[in-house]
Symmetry: C2
Subunit: 442 residues, 2 copies
Amino acid sequence: MDVDVVQDALDANDLAKAQEWLNRHAPHEVAAELQRLDPVPTAVAFRLLDKDQALEVFEELDPHSQQTILEGLRDEAFYDLVESLEPDDRARVVQEAPAKIAHRVLAGLSPAERQMTAALLGYPEGSVGRYMTPEMVVLRRGLTAAAALDVVRAEGRDAETIYVLPLVDDHRRLVGVTTLRELVLSAADTVVDMISEEAPRAQATDDAESAARLMQEANLLALIVVDSEERVVGLLTIDDAVELIEAADTEDVARQAGASPLRGHYLTASVLQVARSRATWLLLLLVAATLTVNVLQYFEDTLARVTALALFVPLLIGTGGNAGAQSATAVVRALAVGEVRGRDVFRVVWRESRVGLGLGLVLAVLALAIGALLVEWRVAATLAGSLVAICVWASVVGAVMPLLARRLGIDPAVISAPLVTTLVDATGLIIYFTMAHLILPL
Amino acid sequence: MDVDVVQDALDANDLAKAQEWLNRHAPHEVAAELQRLDPVPTAVAFRLLDKDQALEVFEELDPHSQQTILEGLRDEAFYDLVESLEPDDRARVVQEAPAKIAHRVLAGLSPAERQMTAALLGYPEGSVGRYMTPEMVVLRRGLTAAAALDVVRAEGRDAETIYVLPLVDDHRRLVGVTTLRELVLSAADTVVDMISEEAPRAQATDDAESAARLMQEANLLALIVVDSEERVVGLLTIDDAVELIEAADTEDVARQAGASPLRGHYLTASVLQVARSRATWLLLLLVAATLTVNVLQYFEDTLARVTALALFVPLLIGTGGNAGAQSATAVVRALAVGEVRGRDVFRVVWRESRVGLGLGLVLAVLALAIGALLVEWRVAATLAGSLVAICVWASVVGAVMPLLARRLGIDPAVISAPLVTTLVDATGLIIYFTMAHLILPL
């Protein structure tokens, strides 16, 4: 579907056509379309949805679009929608929304629903507690499979998932986990303790992204969430975990390019928002880049005497930047997926210095050939020698910086390619002119 | 766990300690440890695992480590392991392994298992067919919920999942889908057709990554896979989908830094492999960077007359590169997650030119201040003016290139930050010297 059906239908004022499309497609497809629209058409399109479809589409939208829609709804529709949301989705709406809307959401809820939402909001931002669902089926240990199935049948309609079933003792403390699969496939008189396993768990205050990555590695459909006394308080389901991981990856990607993560959709975020997400780093990097000006000023005499040296400055620092970006990106990703840990510094340095040396030697041969065609051989030799040194240096610096960041408790993803490039630029120039002094008669 | 327990125990020849650790931890944790080891200790550690643990750990390993282990196993252990694998995992082992091992795997299988594996291998590489499991429970339409549950109980033990249950007609053609949740929660005499929904599906020959992203967006635990006649042939489960997405993201991240994706683990891939994954792009970019040499040669006279201009070359092209990398990365990611489509070119250009203008103006003010301190005001003005033009140009080029790539059927992720940076370098210099000719008395 590479055509903006809804946009086109709305532009043509053909509401019937838009309505037909919106109610005939899957919620995630409708959500993807709505997120591409400007605020007014978004609100119009949302009101064309049938009630059930509207709820499902709303849950698929990003927080930015959810707010746009809530702002546009009149009281009755507003409360209807908010009351029907799952508690964890509702908590996230409240968390992201401006105070006025958040207040309106909480005020419109039944006492029971308000309590559930407020409980989730009590956990720190970015914690598992904010993303878990409290709506699950918990089994007492000692039940037979048949009795457990009866519990599932009695309580399952309201649960977000019934596939993962925590087993608890009399104090609601977690003692194990079983699955609907085991319950259904086991003989009716099997005691659930016999078909339970040790349960991976997360504390409600744990970091949500780490919990999501744990689920991914351990192939869990839901992770049991406990409080500080090991009592079961919720489940983190795989759909929320996958979303958490995708959001974290998108943030890492933005940071890797030296930009803050953009909240909301690329096409509908305001130009000011986009510019702001990039401006801080660009400014900092510009200031850092003045180092290169200082270095060049320092070597101004050398440059004046051998003007041919100036020709290769962009090529040389560009290559250094590229090599540094490659190794930085590889290490940041390896850290994110858990292949490398903070204590691996020396192993990584040893690897990257050999990789850098290999790359530098290959590039030097090519550069020597190119340089010899354009300038005298000693300048070409300076270029080639500098390339080797700069490749080693850039590969090591690019790899070590994210590791140091992790050790200092900073997100390694802030060690962006542009940051590495900028730092390698200035040091690369020093290497280049030092090499020139060694090789050329200066 | 930030200590290499296994490595340390093996180094100390304390096999008992290693064995105890290996069998007490979850399979994904053991796999993460094994992947960090060199080939010989990997094989030793693997043989210390209990049989069931060994199987589960093996399934969690990346293809590279799987091969290392298979190569080290003697016949009996080899066939035991291979026969116990799920058909889809086995197909992937065969697909990645050198011919000799692949042959040994297939030869050791029972005829039924061999047929299932060969069938999966019949689908093109990277297709859904390669990643799906044929082991599922399929329901005939018209059954009651009770009868359907009996089918699940009879066939469920061998199925990879029983939560998603395709509904088929007499010719095994897909007519809908229901879930174990619905079966369990519905009255026993409910006809399954009444609790079924329209089934999202993928063709076995479809691209696996796209199918995985569809599952993520639609929050599916398993996606039904059909052949060209709509007959059900398998299920793509969420754990495989999540792995597919992670692998694709890791590839995109590598490409974004101008490197080929590294097959295997960062720490255990050979130095040669790592260097090779980066060399091609570095060489290409070095050749492209000779454009900057040509541009500088063309303007050599200008440079000789106003040597102060040379001081700002690294700063200027560095900033242009950073701005280009930011917009390229944003658009590549927006394309990957489906926020932007190929036809959005004009919308994106309009956005990015305004973003670039805003950023350029802010940077120009700062640059004017810095430049005025160091050089005469006309050079500073040249720098500031160039920054504005270069920011607009870089933001637009960075954003348009991935879109063009998509339109030409090339993976947008190959439009890496280094590629954009290198292209913006040469054009940025042209802008700079043209600006110099306009502002300075040359």
